[in-house]
């Protein structure tokens, strides 16, 4: 999401990098570009002003001018200030209330409230082992209740049925009573989208808040929002005691300025980012990591955490044992690794988090996207089990059959076989000497092929 902001900031900051001396003029020129970059990134003007002023104060002070590497020092200040503006640290949901702890969602139309309810419910159920119930108080938009019902089914949490003929407050009351009776840990309440200037609707949500006494009141905001983000957030903040923010649709190419503005204006921590259409696409928000992503410095921590969570450790261990025994790395193993890559959101998601990944040309991430992985898997799937185990069998007529079966060309099959051969050689080398290293690599990076770093298909 933050590519463009990183580009802009990166450019102006790189000019300073490595300079032995910078003057106040240099700083002023850079800050002007920082200001423009932030404005283009839709950061609200008052926030930009404050931000630039803070940096100027520190930069013109002793810190930068007397530093031996003033460029680096300035970059460090910008990063620190970004982190500070985004909030100091990750804050989890605070559900320490008498159960059921209520989470109330509020926001504009189309911000992504209902989807976020689903993602949050899944997050709480799977990662925190909570018993979750969801309820919709959106009696306005056609089929909104139905939508939440479907989402609840998908993430396997309980759904409290409501009807568009009921009053939202009555629904909330009934849901709360039911959640209490059935010993649910958490009740997540979805509400209708509303404009901050719509008085009756804002009164309604205040009433809901009063009725529910939520442990968390989350403001849901679209990452693509422009200057209005700050105003809307301020208005919601006045009407409701917000406790946190969820920023959605950050997987687009929006520059993410809204995140900065909302954090600054409400003073409330951003708790989650919605990073995709699927109901697992929810990331806890880590300010320092996002700040370094904005500056194009990568977010390796999130990557490692994701790998640990999603990679099938059993499979990795089995593969390691197999290679140790001297058996080859066959095509089944290759396909497994591809599938694990897919689980982690594909190549684009990985690149996004690698240092320098944001600076790759736009097309590069696109080329390495899921189609490559899908194609490789399709080719392997079009082989017989025997062929997968003994790829040497695959000669011209089999190649033709496999290519037809997978909708690819014979050249694609050839390429895959060649890559597999290379990987196999590498594996052999490891199994002879560097077994320990291999095992360690397996644990750290899970299914990634050892040594190479990138799986085949991307190293070309």
């Amino acid at each position: 999401m933050f590519e463009n902001l990183s580009d802009r900031l990166g450019d102006s900051l790189h000019k300073l990098r490595g300079r032995g001396r910078i003057t106040e003029d240099n700083v002023r020129e850079t800050l002007r570009e920082v200001r423009l970059a932030l404005l283009e990134a839709d950061v609200a003007l008052p926030v930009v002003k404050q931000f630039v002023e803070d940096i100027r104060e520190r930069a013109v002070g002793a810190e930068v001018l007397r530093s031996l590497t003033p460029g680096q020092a300035l970059i460090k200040i910008v990063q620190e200030e970004l982190t500070r503006t985004l909030g100091e640290e990750n804050s989890e949901l605070n559900l320490r209330a008498k159960p059921p702890a209520v989470v109330l969602m509020a926001g504009l139309q189309g911000a992504g409230k209902t989807t976020s309810v689903g993602k949050l419910a899944r997050h709480l159920r799977e990662r925190q082992k909570k018993k979750v119930m969801v309820v919709s108080c959106d009696t306005y938009r056609p089929a909104a209740i139905d939508q939440l019902k479907r989402v609840a089914e998908q993430v396997q949490v309980d759904f409290f049925p409501s009807s568009a003929d009921d009053k939202p407050v009555a629904i909330a009351k009934a849901a709360l009573a039911q959640a209490r009776k059935s010993f649910h840990d958490v009740l997540i309440v979805d509400t209708a989208g509303r404009l901050a200037i719509d008085e009756p609707m804002m009164q309604e949500i205040s009433a809901l808040h009063g009725q529910l006494e939520p442990a968390e009141t989350l403001f849901v905001v679209d990452a693509m929002t422009g200057q209005d983000a700050a105003r809307t957030a301020a208005a919601f903040g006045e009407a409701l005691p917000l406790t946190g923010v969820v920023v959605t649709k950050v997987d687009g190419d929006a520059r993410g300025g809204a995140a900065l503005s909302v954090r600054q204006v409400t003073g409330k921590p951003i708790k989650f980012l919605g990073t995709g259409e699927k109901l697992e696409a929810l990331e806890p928000f880590h300010p320092e990591r996002i700040a370094s992503r904005i500056l194009g410095m990568g977010d390796v921590l999130t990557l490692v955490e994701e790998a640990e969570r999603k990679v099938d450790k059993d499979k990795a261990a089995r593969l390691a044992r197999k290679i140790k025994k001297g058996k080859g790395f066959d095509l089944n193993d290759l396909a497994d690794q591809m599938r694990q890559m897919q689980e982690m959101g594909g190549m684009a998601a990985l690149l996004d988090k690698m240092p320098g990944g944001a600076q790759l040309p736009k097309g590069a991430a696109g080329m390495a996207d899921e189609t490559q992985i899908t194609r490789t898997i399709a080719i392997v799937n079009s082989m017989t089990p025997h062929e997968r185990q003994f790829p040497d069998l695959i000669k011209s007529s089999r190649k033709r059959r496999i290519a037809t079966g997978s909708g690819t060309q014979v050249q694609d099959v050839n390429r895959l076989l060649k890559q597999h051969l290379q990987m196999q050689k590498m594996m052999k080398k490891f199994s002879k000497g560097g077994m320990k290293k291999l095992m360690r690599g397996m644990q750290g990076m899970g299914g990634m092929p050892p040594g190479g770093g990138l799986p085949p298909g991307f190293g070309r």
């Binding site: 839709d42 992504g112 422009g226 209005d228």
Partner: protein, 320 residues
């Protein structure tokens, strides 16, 4: 004009009071433009500070960095050339320049009588109000005496099909649907076949919201378009991109990507009532120069209306 016999301009069923509502909703009381101008110019002389401050105000209104610089650049030239003295002159020059950005975007949706069914494909990112816009457009067309059919092409989002069906019920308009998860292109194909069979005037095809950065989803959209063309190679006759007015600079990226993928022919700008100032319309107009077919200023069916640059400028300036 010359073709008056064969076309129905949407603007002809302009609902009374839409312009009044537009004025009220984007200004909330006083016109921000005239209000700001008054505040910027307490004296009777235009000075450099006033122009700098005006730049800030335009940026705050989401008019966008490029459009703002274009307008301010022109005003600066006038000022430097000694042609701007009085606040009134500044106000007039500003209105002229802002107006000239919008003018190329006039172009109401016209539905020729000899094209039947006229196919409208709705596209856009998630949560901009595609389905709601379809519901409102359908209601207007229906009131116009056109027969309308809807195709529930959002087969991804939970309950999107039901949401469209509800609009269908309210307007008593048939909705062609398949279960969630089916191929949207096939829904479109079926719907077009049905619309042809029933000799329907207008078919509106809904699609799932998708972020323009998701290559595979954009490919899916291309397929919907391609498959619609199989029965009638002129279809879809209109590809309407729905843009949320509260979106900032990203609206431009969205429009460019969607345009590359499926050839956008018109825009609908929704939720103008949610912005304090409606400035994003200028940003979009300056960059894209695509006709803006509709603007939405509220939740009611009548709150969606045709775009007219004159009316919009006069609403912004709070003309009575």
């Amino acid at each position: 004009m010359a073709e008056k016999h064969a076309t129905t301009a949407y603007s002809r069923f302009k609902n009374p009071g839409f312009v009044t509502r537009l004025r009220a909703r984007i200004n909330r009381g006083d016109s921000w433009l005239t209000y700001d101008l008054r505040n910027l110019l307490p004296g009777d002389r235009v000075d450099q500070d006033a122009i700098d401050e005006l730049e800030t105000q335009l940026l705050l209104a989401d008019i966008g960095v490029d459009a703002t610089q274009q307008v301010i650049g022109r005003l600066q030239t006038l000022f430097d050339g000694g042609k701007l003295y009085k606040p009134v002159e500044l106000g007039r020059a500003l209105r002229e320049h802002l107006g000239s950005i919008l003018a190329p975007c006039d172009g109401p949706l016209e539905i020729p009588d000899d094209v039947r069914p006229f196919v409208i494909l709705m596209v856009g990112v998630n949560g901009v109000g595609k389905t709601t816009t379809i519901g409102k457009v359908a209601a207007h067309l229906k009131n116009q005496g056109k027969s309308v059919m809807l195709a529930a092409g959002d087969t991804f989002r939970a309950a999107a099909v039901e949401q469209l069906q509800e609009w269908g019920r309210r307007n008593s308009v048939p909705v062609i649907a398949q279960p969630t998860g089916s191929d949207p292109a096939s829904v479109g194909y079926d719907a077009l076949a049905a619309a042809r069979a029933r000799n329907t005037d207008v078919l509106i095809v809904d699609t799932a919201g998708r972020l323009h950065t998701q290559g595979h989803l954009m490919d899916e959209l291309k397929k919907v378009r391609r498959v619609l063309g199989k029965q009638d190679d002129t279809a879809p006759h209109e590809v309407l991109l729905v843009v949320d007015a509260t979106t900032g600079g990203n609206a431009l990226q969205q429009a460019q990507q969607f345009h590359e993928a499926v050839g956008v022919t018109g825009l609908a700008v929704t939720k103008l009532d949610g912005t304090a100032r409606g400035g994003v319309v200028f940003a979009i107009a300056q960059k894209l120069k695509l006709p803006i077919r509709f603007i939405g200023v509220g939740e009611g069916v009548d709150d969606l209306g045709p775009f007219d640059s004159e009316a919009f400028m006069s609403a912004l300036y709070g003309d009575k």
